[in-house]
Symmetry: C2
Subunit: 140 residues, 2 copies
DNA sequence: ATATAATTTTATACTCGATACAAGTTAGGA
DNA sequence: TCCTAACTTGTATCGAGTATAAAATTATAT
C-alpha cells in the first residue's frame, strides 16, 4: 500500500465517522481494490495469510459497520452469503450467473428508479440472474 | 378455497410441470393469496395450524421447486431469510423498511433494465431500502 | 385389482454464514 | 501516567436451509 493510498483510506474512514484501526484499513483497502465482490469469508481468508492474528469476527463486524456508514454496499443477490462492493463507484447493477455463480457489474442508468411518495430511500440494488457469456457458450 | 380457485391452482401446477399434491396446492394457494411476502418459516407456521402433519421440510422444498419452475419469485432483499412472492403479477420492485423490516411493492417500469450483450437474463429484481412512511413519521 | 416402481412427504441430523458474549487489547483524553 | 471507551479476538451459539433415509402416497404395468 502506498502512502497516498493509505492516507486516502484513512480519510474515507474518518469522514464516515469510523476510527481507523489497522484492521479496518486493511479490510477497506482490500474491498476497494477488489473487483470480485467477495464474501466476508473470502475477505478473511485472503487477509489472514498476511495477518495471522486477524479474527473472522472482526471481518464480519467491520464489513457490517462499513455498510451502515455507507462506505461499502452489501449485495444480497442470492440466498447464499452476502457479498461486498466498494460504494464509491458509479452506481451499477449486478448479474449473477446461475452456472458459475460469478457476479458481474452491469452498467445501468439507475436514476429512473424512484420510490413512491412518502418512502425515504437510501439504497437501490438491481439484480439480474441468468447465464454469463462464457457459460452460455459451454452449454450450447 | 372455492372449486374454481382450486382448479386454477391445479392448472398453474400442471402447466408448470409440477404434480399437484395436496401440500403443493395448499402452499401455492397461500402464496398467491398472500400480500405480505412471507418467509418459508412464516408459510409453514401459518399452514401448520390447519395441517398439523405438514412438514417444514416440505414447505422449503415446494417453495424451491416453485421458484425453479417460475411460479414464484424469491426475494433476497436482505441477508436474513428468503421471502416469496407470486410470480403471476405485474413486475414490480420491492422496498424494505430498515425500521419495521416490512416489504412493500413498488410500482416500477422494469422494461428499461437491460443487461449487456452476451448475457442471458431470466430474472430481474429491484430492491430499495430505507424508511417506510409510517416509520418515518414515528422517528421525526 | 394387485404388485411393483416412482414420486412425494416426513422427521432427524447436520451444515455453515452470521452473531452474542466476555475477556483481552489498544487508543485517546484528563 | 492513569482511566475510560472503543476495538479486537475466540468461543459458543443461533437459525435458515439442506442432506438423507424411511415412510407414505401415487402412478404404472401385468
Amino acid at each position: 500500500m502506498t502512502d497516498s493510498n493509505r492516507h486516502k483510506l484513512h480519510s474515507m474512514l474518518t469522514e464516515a465517522g469510523i476510527r481507523p484501526s489497522i484492521q479496518r484499513l486493511t479490510i477497506l483497502e482490500y474491498i476497494t481494490s477488489c473487483k470480485s465482490h467477495p464474501t466476508a469469508d473470502e475477505v478473511y481468508s485472503h487477509l489472514v495469510t498476511d495477518n495471522p492474528m486477524l479474527s473472522r469476527t472482526t471481518v464480519f463486524s467491520c464489513l457490517k459497520l462499513f455498510v451502515e456508514k455507507g462506505l461499502v454496499n452489501d449485495i444480497d443477490i442470492s440466498s447464499d452469503s452476502t457479498r461486498y462492493d466498494d460504494a464509491h463507484r458509479i452506481p451499477h447493477g449486478h448479474f449473477m450467473c446461475r452456472q458459475c455463480h460469478r457476479i458481474f457489474d452491469i452498467t445501468l442508468d439507475m436514476s429512473a428508479l424512484k420510490v413512491n411518495d412518502g418512502f425515504v430511500c437510501d439504497n437501490v440494488n438491481v439484480f439480474f440472474k441468468g447465464l454469463c457469456p462464457e457459460c452460455k457458450k459451454l452449454i450450447n
